[in-house]
């Protein structure tokens, strides 16, 4: 039913994702401007100014830093987001139409862990290292509910192929009967992208944490990679829980874009809504509340699938 898109379609993925990421970054800047009472027009140029700034900025080196790993980390975050995007079906076609597409997406996200940890390690700074520790602790606590949420959607469709999950929602969107999995998916997406209340790994209390020694193009890769990651997570969320490109009147592509933008706005908005919370509290929330709830959700969906 679904076929792989032609190879040249892979070339469209980076610009499409970059455009979404740019919209998200501009939206975030606009929210920031509104909070401080500054004009919105200037805010929209902020992502471009930041990009220009980091492109002309010098790379830094620290005594005895691990330069290879320190440079590989940010690049890995960026590449991981692009890899994750390959399995998103647009108009019924994905660049990589894998029978295990959901596993591919999740594996790409786990690469982000490695990327961030390597960046912190490579800086040879106690701040960077402590930021890395924080991200690993946070990643473990929120990767589990994330996986359970993904598995729940796959269970509902009885397939790990992303396009099959989209097709299985022709009657009813998955968000309607697996709302807990959907909420956990969004929450853990914030944690994996280390934004908003989950920003401890790059916190000001650690002088920037993982980012403490990162400058110039490396910093650009990492910060842009974070927005790419948010964008691709929003797109996958739209496919897995909001019916993908199904919808009346408009073409499928437009529906997918609309749903993705709505989810992206939600993720970016949540980032500004809450302050950074102490890590130990977030760990509590994950292990005591979110993980058991997502397991229960998966169990419920499994029973429904077996019974029908």
């Amino acid at each position: 039913m679904v076929e792989s898109a032609p190879l040249w379609a892979a070339l469209l993925v980076p610009p499409a994702l970059a455009a979404l990421a740019l919209v998200a970054a501009a939206g975030d800047a606009a929210l920031g401007a509104r909070a401080t009472g500054r004009p919105l027009t200037g805010a929209l140029a902020i992502p471009l100014r930041e990009t220009a700034r980091l492109l002309v900025q010098q790379r830094r080196a620290v005594v005895a830093a691990d330069r290879l790993l320190g440079a590989a980390g940010p690049a890995l975050v960026f590449v991981a987001a692009l890899l994750a995007a390959l399995v998103v079906p647009v108009g019924g076609r994905a660049v990589l139409d894998l029978s295990y597409g959901i596993v591919w997406f999740n594996a790409a996200e786990v690469l982000v862990w490695a990327g961030l940890w390597l960046t912190g390690w490579g800086s040879n700074s106690p701040y960077g290292l402590a930021g890395g520790y924080r991200y690993i602790a946070l990643g473990l606590a929120y990767e589990l509910p994330h996986m359970f949420a993904l598995i729940t959607a796959a269970l509902g469709a009885e397939s790990l192929r992303v396009a099959d999950v989209a097709a299985a929602q022709s009657g009813l969107w998955f968000v309607a009967w697996m709302p807990v999995a959907f909420a956990a998916f969004l929450l853990s997406a914030l944690a994996i992208s280390f934004v908003g209340p989950f920003g401890q790994a790059v916190g000001r209390d650690l002088a920037g944490g993982v980012l403490v020694e990162v400058s110039g193009p490396d910093r650009l890769l990492l910060l842009a990679g974070r927005y790419l990651l948010l964008a691709v997570t929003a797109a996958v969320g739209a496919v897995l829980f909001l019916g993908g490109d199904s919808g009346p009147f408009l073409p499928g592509f437009a529906w997918l874009l609309l749903k993705t933008v709505v989810l992206l706005a939600l993720l970016v908005g949540a980032r500004r809504l809450l302050p950074v919370l102490p890590l130990q509290r977030l760990e509590e929330v994950a292990w005591v509340l979110v993980i058991p709830l997502t397991i229960l959700q998966a169990l419920l969906v499994a029973i429904v699938v077996l019974a029908r």
Binding site: A33, A35, T36, R38, G42, A45, I46, L48, R49, E50, A52, R53, L55, V56, Q57, Q58, R59, R60, A61, V62, V63, A64, A65, P126, Y127, L129, A130, Y133, R134, G199, Q200, G203, R204, D205, L206, A207, G208, L211, V212, E213, V214, S215, G216, R219, R272, L274, P275, V276, L277, P278, L279, R281
Partner: protein, 380 residues
């Protein structure tokens, strides 16, 4: 080259600034922070993130060396500014922006400094490996090992917090020994305090010199100080928006606005601190000061309780801005208070995670400037 020039001009529209504040530089810092906020220029979290190094006040001695080391860590294009008084801020930042847009430096990798940039001075011979000769990599001592709180032997690193650190008391250096991200022990040091004039206790000191000072003037300064500390605490906690609101109110008070002008901001900070159940839950029990120490210091509770007390004091002070009475009565002893807070820090941060330690320091906000203050004359 044409392209990189265009990129540079685009980037210069929004440079990131790292503040290095010397004791006595409070007035300059307030002016710079206000100017940065109004221009929408972000405050960098570390040298790697900065285009501008803004030195507030006049750093002397060890602090001057530390500022030089930080300057060596800024990636180019970069500009260093020395701002000794609040009146210089606007002009200096304008000229820095022009320099950033115009400057074209050869793009090469930033050379690592020949000497390690971490600690300052020696006196830590216990970190050698025993036979008198330390193991070193690229001039840096290797981490030593020591038993941790669970009885394991773990790597132990020396990490100096300060003196150039964002949202950190000027001139304070907390030399910590960390294992993982937990502080095992800490030592307090103060650098560059030579010519410090305490900005925050200035009205009281003037009054004790016999100058006529109204109680309202002193209240204005106290309210601004509390809001400044609250802004710093919120910044460390990662609530940048809350911090900006507190600083807007602070700057209006410093500029001489009346109570009505800061009412809305105070309400917003109050909503963040008092109204937010989330924050209450998140900060609950964080950085609690033991009861016996609390009695000695005059401050207790956890981080949240201390923040609420600051807010109460700020609101009370704003309510009495119009007080025309002469400042009198029992003046307190700012130097003694600052000294007690500094002396208590090592005890309070021992065994605490780095982020929590930052919150503890921010929630006490000792003012190094006051150390040199002559204890106010007590009259009547």
């Amino acid at each position: 080259m044409e392209l990189s020039g265009a990129l540079r001009r685009l980037a210069a529209g929004r440079p990131h600034a790292l503040l290095a504040v010397a004791p006595g530089g409070t007035a300059a810092r307030l002016a710079v922070e206000r100017e940065l906020r109004e221009r929408g220029w972000p405050e960098a979290a570390s040298p790697a993130d900065a285009d501008l190094l803004v030195v507030c006040g006049r750093p002397g001695g060890d602090l001057a060396d530390a500022v030089d080391r930080v300057w060596a860590q800024l990636p180019s294009p970069r500009v260093r500014l020395e701002i000794s008084g609040p009146e210089d801020a606007t002009r200096a930042l304008d000229s820095a922006q022009e320099l950033l847009a115009a400057r074209s430096e050869p793009r090469r990798g930033l050379r690592p400094p020949a000497k390690p940039t971490g600690g300052h001075g020696g006196g830590h011979s216990q970190h050698g490996n025993g036979d008198g000769e330390e193991m070193r990599i690229a001039g840096l001592p290797l981490a030593d090992r020591a038993p941790d709180r669970d009885g394991l032997k773990l790597d132990r690193l020396e990490l100096p917090l300060g003196p150039v650190l964002t949202d950190w008391p000027a001139g304070l250096v907390l030399t910590t020994q960390i294992q993982g991200d937990v502080i095992q022990e800490a030592e307090v040091d103060v650098v560059g305090e030579e010519s410090a004039e305490p900005f925050w206790s200035e009205p009281w000191l003037r009054a004790s010199d016999g100058e006529p000072v109204t109680a309202g003037e002193a209240a204005r300064r106290r309210a601004a100080r509390r809001l400044d500390s609250l802004g710093r605490l919120l910044m460390v906690a990662g609530d940048e928006r809350g911090a900006l609101v507190a600083r807007i109110a602070r700057d209006r008070l410093v500029a001489g606005s009346d109570a009505a002008a800061v009412e809305e901001e105070l309400t917003r900070v109050g909503r963040t601190l008092r109204g937010s159940r989330l924050l209450r839950w998140a900060w609950n029990g964080l950085g609690t000061i033991p009861a016996e120490l609390a009695a000695e210091l005059g401050v207790g509770g956890d981080v949240h309780a201390r923040a609420l007390r600051w807010l109460d004091e700020a609101e009370a002070a704003v309510a009495s801005l119009g007080d025309e009475d002469e400042l009198g009565g029992a003046a307190d002893d700012p130097a003694g208070r600052a000294r007690a807070l500094l002396d208590a820090l090592p005890q309070l941060v021992a065994g605490v995670e780095l982020g929590e330690a930052r919150l503890i320091v921010a929630s006490l906000d000792p003012d190094v400037d006051e150390l040199g203050a002559i204890p106010a004359v007590r009259h009547g």
